[in-house]
Amino acid sequence: MTIAARVLQRNLLVYRRTWRGSLFGSFMTPLLYLTAMGLGLGSLIATRGGAVLGGYDYLHFLGPGILAASCMQSAVFESTFPIMGKIMWRRNYEAMLATPLEVGHLLIGELLWIAFRVLSISSVFLVILTVFGIPRSPLALLAVPAAILTGLAFSAAVIGFAATQRNDAGFSWMFRFVVNPLFLFSGTFFPITQLPEPVQWVAAATPLYHGVSLVRGTILNDAAILSGWPLHVAYLLAFFGVAAVIAHQLLRRRLVK
C-alpha cells in the first residue's frame, strides 16, 4: 500500500506545478452552471417546478446535481488521456514496472489520485454552493465522500476501458455516447421520475444516479431523498469493486506481455 502511494506522490509532484490553473477551472465550472442555469433558467421554471423538485427552487435542486456530475466528469477525464499517455505515449508505466511496483500498485495509486482530485473539486464546489446558500446543514460535508465514491466507480470502469484502447478515438465516442447522456439523464437537471418508465430503469442502473441522490440528499439534508442511502452506497461500492477487478485484469493484459 505504501508503495502504491508513490504513484499518487508522482502525480502530486506534477500537480504542484499545475494546481493553480486546475483550481481556477474547478471554480469556474460551478459558477457558470449555477448562474446561467440555476438563476437564469431557474427563474423561468420556479413557478411550475415546486412539487416535482421536492419543494425546492431550481437553484437548490440543480446545485448538488451539478456537483456530483462535475466530479464524475473529472474522474472520467483523469482516467482517459492521462492513463493512455502513461500506457503508450510516454510509457511511464513501463518505467515504473521496472521497479518493485506491480500493476496492482499502479491501479491503486491512480485511484488514490482520482480520490484526491474529486476531494479537491467537490470541496471547492461545496464552498461555492455555500456562497449561494444551498447547503442546509453540516450533513452537507458528507457530500464529499459520496462524490469520491461516485468518482472512483466511474474511474475504475474507465481505466479498464482505456487499457483496451489503441488510440484516443474511443474516448470521444465514450464522452459522446456515455458520459454526456449520463450527465443529462441521471437526475442532475431534473428528477428521473419525469422520464418514461423504461428510461427511468436505465437511469437508475447508472452509478451517477446513485451519486446524485447521495450528494443531493446530504447537501439538502432531505430525509426523503436520502431514504434509499444504504442501497445507493452499496450499489456504488459494488460497481467500484467489480470495475476495479476488471480494470486490474485489463491493465495487466495490456502492460505485461
Binding site: 505504501t2 508503495i3 508513490r6 506522490q9 508522482r10 509532484l13 506534477v14 510516454r90 510509457r91 511511464n92 513501463e94 518505467a95 515504473m96 514496472l97 521496472a98 521497479t99 518493485p100 511496483l101 506491480e102 505485461v256 506481455k257
Partner: protein, 311 residues
C-alpha cells in the same frame, strides 16, 4: 547477504518465450557471471529484447528455467527488480518532471529514503555529466542526454545487475562514444552488465563475452576475439567490381579461405589481405576498389547466418 555474490548472476536453461504461435525465444541456454559485461548480438527481431524482458521480470517466461540473482522471476519478481537497473530500448523518462525529479521520484519507487535519494541523485547527475541541467525539463534534452539520464536512473537503486537494451541506437557518433565511456567506467567499478545490440562495434567495445542470436536461437557464444578466431580469418579483403555483379566463375578460386558474395561487394577471408590483393592483381582481375581490414563480429554473423547484421 543475498545470493548476489555468487558466481553466476543469471542462469538460463531452455528459456523460451512464445507470443501465441510465434516463438520469440527458442530454448536458449546462457550464464552471466558476476562482474562481466555480457552481450546479446543479433539483428532486429532475433529475440534479444524478449530475452532481456524475461530477465528484467517484465515479461512472463513461457517455458524453461531462469534464475536471476539467485531468485526465481516467476515467484520473486519484485525482489529481483529491487536489485536490477533497466535501460529500455526507447526512453521512458517522465516528461512531466525535471531531470532531478526523474531520479528522485524513481528512487521513491524503490522505497529509497528521501535523504539517500537526494544524495545519490547528485552523485549520478555528476557521473552522467548532467548536473548543470538538473532543474530543466526532460523534453528539451538531446537524445544523448536523455540516454545518459536513463542510465543514471537505472543506477539509482545501486543495482547488482544492469540491463541495457540497445543503449546507443539512434545516437550520433559523439554521443555514442561518451555513453560507451560511461559504461566502460561502470564496468571498471565491477558492475555486471547485460547489453543487447545490433552494432558489432558496440559489442566489441563493451562485451567481455557475448552470444550471437538469430531467429530466436543462440548460434554462437564466446568473447569477441574467440568468436572472430573461430568463425573468421584474421583479415578480410573487400573487393568492388566495375560492372557491379562480378560473375566470378571461379576466378577467385584458391585465393582465400572463404569467399562471400554480397550484392555490392565480395569479401575474401584470408590471413593476409595485402598478399591476397597482390595475387588478384597478378591474375589480372579487374577491380574497382579494394580494402583490407581486420575481421569483425559482422563477419562472424555473416558466416553464421549468411546475412549481414544491419540490413
Amino acid at each position: 547477504m543475498p545470493p548476489s555474490l555468487s558466481e553466476v548472476l543469471v542462469h538460463a536453461r531452455r528459456l523460451t518465450k512464445r507470443f501465441g504461435t510465434f516463438t520469440a525465444v527458442d530454448a536458449v541456454d546462457f550464464d552471466v557471471r558476476t562482474g562481466e559485461a555480457f552481450g546479446f548480438l543479433g539483428p532486429n527481431g532475433a529475440g534479444k529484447t524478449s530475452t532481456m524482458k524475461m530477465i528484467a521480470c517484465s515479461s512472463p517466461i513461457t517455458e524453461g528455467d531462469l534464475t536471476v540473482i539467485g531468485m526465481d522471476p516467476r515467484a520473486q519478481a519484485a525482489q529481483i527488480k529491487a536489485h536490477l537497473g533497466v535501460v529500455p530500448q526507447t526512453d521512458n523518462l517522465d516528461a512531466e518532471l525535471t531531470v532531478r525529479e526523474n531520479l528522485e521520484m524513481y528512487a521513491r519507487y524503490f522505497d529509497i529514503p528521501n535523504e539517500v535519494a537526494r544524495h545519490r541523485t547528485d552523485e549520478l547527475l555528476e557521473f552522467v555529466q548532467l548536473s548543470e541541467r538538473a532543474d530543466d525539463q526532460v523534453d528539451p534534452l538531446s537524445g544523448g542526454m536523455k540516454r545518459r539520464l536513463t542510465i543514471a536512473r537505472s543506477l539509482i537503486n545501486e543495482p547488482d545487475l544492469i540491463i541495457l537494451d540497445e543503449p546507443t541506437t539512434g545516437l550520433d557518433p559523439q554521443a555514442r562514444h561518451l555513453l560507451w565511456e560511461r559504461l566502460y567506467r561502470l564496468k571498471q567499478r565491477g558492475a555486471t552488465l547485460i547489453i543487447t545490440t545490433h552494432y558489432m562495434d558496440e559489442a566489441e567495445q563493451l562485451c567481455d563475452r557475448l552470444v550471437v542470436m538469430d531467429k530466436a536461437k543462440i548460434v554462437a557464444e564466446g568473447s569477441p576475439r574467440e568468436l572472430i578466431e573461430r568463425y573468421s580469418t584474421r583479415e578480410v579483403l573487400e573487393l568492388r567490381f566495375p560492372d557491379g555483379r562480378p560473375g566470378l566463375d571461379g576466378r577467385l578460386e584458391g585465393l582465400a579461405e572463404r569467399v562471400e558474395e554480397l550484392p555490392d561487394r565480395v569479401l575474401l577471408y584470408t590471413a593476409d589481405g595485402e598478399g591476397t590483393l597482390e595475387a588478384i592483381h597478378a591474375r589480372d582481375i579487374q577491380i574497382d576498389s579494394a580494402l583490407v581490414r581486420r575481421a569483425t563480429l559482422e563477419d562472424v554473423f555473416l558466416r553464421l547466418t549468411g546475412r549481414s547484421l544491419v540490413e
